[in-house]
């Protein structure tokens, strides 16, 4: 992400042509890169497209100018959350990722059941969507039958080091904007 130079994009559109989610996007990946070039972050952060991206890296891989388009979208999502711009129904992805990291911070390894519980609760509190809360409940017996369901997840022995790594990585982060956007020298107010 740090090597991304958004300025190199010459709008060939190859990123959008190969994007598996393009048909569901209100702004295409090449248009998002253009908005970042023009320092129009206000528009870029409010679109739905950044939440449709599945981080498959096809865009970044095919870009003839080596622009890390997927990294740009990562950075836009991060900014949208930091600035509280993302609408609640667009925030399920972020809620999931936050619950995921929180889980790792406490256990060192992923405890799936705990992750599902925390994510479902937080997502429900955000959007009050009962069908989404109940979905997957029927999956539990199927997983138990297959021995794929673990009530207690694994935890690492040295949880102190995990906690310290998180603390050290989070401290300087609040002060600096994501690299992909920063590298274009865009500082919108």
């Amino acid at each position: 992400m740090a090597q991304t130079s958004v300025g190199d994009c010459y709008q060939c559109g190859k990123c959008s042509a190969g994007c598996p989610m393009a048909e569901h996007m209100d702004l295409l990946p090449n248009q998002l890169v253009r908005l970042v070039q023009m320092e129009r972050l206000d528009r870029a952060l409010r679109c739905e497209a950044i939440w449709k991206c599945v981080s498959c890296m096809t865009c970044s891989t095919r870009c003839p100018k080596s622009v890390d388009c997927a990294g740009v979208l990562d950075a836009l999502r991060q900014l949208a959350v930091e600035r509280g711009i993302a609408a609640p129904e667009r925030r399920r992805t972020v809620l999931f990722q936050q619950a995921f990291l929180d889980n790792i911070r406490r256990n060192g390894r992923l405890c799936e059941l705990e992750l599902i519980g925390v994510f479902k609760t937080k997502a429900f509190l955000a959007d009050r969507n009962i069908p989404l809360l109940m979905k997957d409940a029927l999956l539990a017996p199927q997983l138990i039958k297959r021995g794929k369901f673990h009530l207690r997840g694994e935890r690492v022995r040295d949880r102190g080091i995990v906690e310290r790594i998180f603390a050290k990585c989070q401290a300087p982060l609040a002060a600096s904007p994501p690299a992909a956007v920063a590298s274009n020298n865009s500082h919108p107010t």
Partner: protein, 280 residues
């Protein structure tokens, strides 16, 4: 041959069938796995989406443990884990200053000298000739669609594995074992990966396209080397069928399942009985 082993959270959790499969298959090929001591999660998509430095530090801690314990090669059968480990590996190679900074964060010296391998690379290292010599049951009647998804080959600069647009490494192994892999269109398209919980609609749509294209091209099963691809194509296949009113009926094997079957291992040992879609 003994190598380091980083199972990652999925293989110790709901994708434990892949864990059984990898262990059984490689043991039959004489590859011993030394599991990384007290390994931690690689951070996956969540870390690289939310915190750039953390996304490098978590895998770097694992590379540091491997270095401390003298493991020069590290198998990470989950492509998400191996990609994150390789990204950390590349970042560590950038400067001595950076290596110092990261070593300080992970509280262990880390130079990034450990070589990270995916499952296909370990099988290639064993060698097609050796695998073929140990074959007791050719994979006749298997016409798999080999599905690579995103992270086995992308981003190409970091992974430097196979051809990111037209990979053929799984086909080469399976053809040698008597299977007839089909030519099809979507072997590197995304299945929605880790969006299974956060955005199921996307996963069902993408998985439906992938399964449908494989069947149209004559496949009678799928082969993957990724726990997330397996969840979306296997566990979610009944949901795909319901949503789109179809019956894909495609068993989704891990690469190590099919190699294991050719080596004479049974379905239970390989964890195939834990899949959702079963052979008719």
């Amino acid at each position: 041959m003994d190598i380091g082993y980083y199972p990652g959270c999925a293989l110790h959790g709901s994708s434990n069938d892949y864990g059984s499969s990898v262990r059984a298959c490689l043991a039959a090929l004489g590859v011993g796995l030394r599991e990384l001591d007290d390994w931690i999660c690689c951070g996956a998509t969540a870390a690289h989406s939310l915190n750039h430095l953390l996304a490098l530090a978590l895998p770097a801690r694992n590379l540091a443990i491997a270095q401390r314990d003298g493991l020069t090669d590290l198998l990470a059968p989950c492509p998400m884990c191996s990609m994150e480990l390789l990204k950390a590996h590349a970042a560590l190679a950038s400067s001595a200053e950076y290596r110092r900074k990261v070593s300080e964060i992970v509280e262990l010296d880390v130079q990034g000298t450990t070589q990270v391998l995916n499952l296909i690379q370990v099988l290639q290292r064993v060698g097609l000739e050796t695998i073929k010599e140990k074959m007791v049951r050719p994979l006749a009647a298997f016409r798999p669609a080999c599905y690579y998804g995103c992270l086995l080959t992308r981003p190409a600069k970091t992974l430097q594995f196979d051809d990111c647009e037209q990979p053929t490494s799984m086909e080469s192994i399976l053809r040698e074992l008597g299977a007839e892999p089909v030519e099809w269109n979507l072997k590197t398209e995304c299945c929605g990966a880790g969006m299974t919980l956060a955005d199921e609609d996307t996963v069902l749509e993408l998985s439906h396209k992938i399964l449908g294209n494989a069947a149209e091209h004559g496949a009678n099963c799928m082969v993957v080397a990724c726990p997330m691809c397996h969840v979306n194509l296997d566990m979610k296949q009944p949901d795909v069928d319901r949503r789109y009113g179809c019956h894909h009926d495609l068993v989704v094997y891990y690469l190590s399942d099919l190699v294991g079957l050719a080596l004479g291992l049974d379905e239970r040992t390989l964890g195939i009985d834990r899949h959702f879609v079963a052979k008719q």
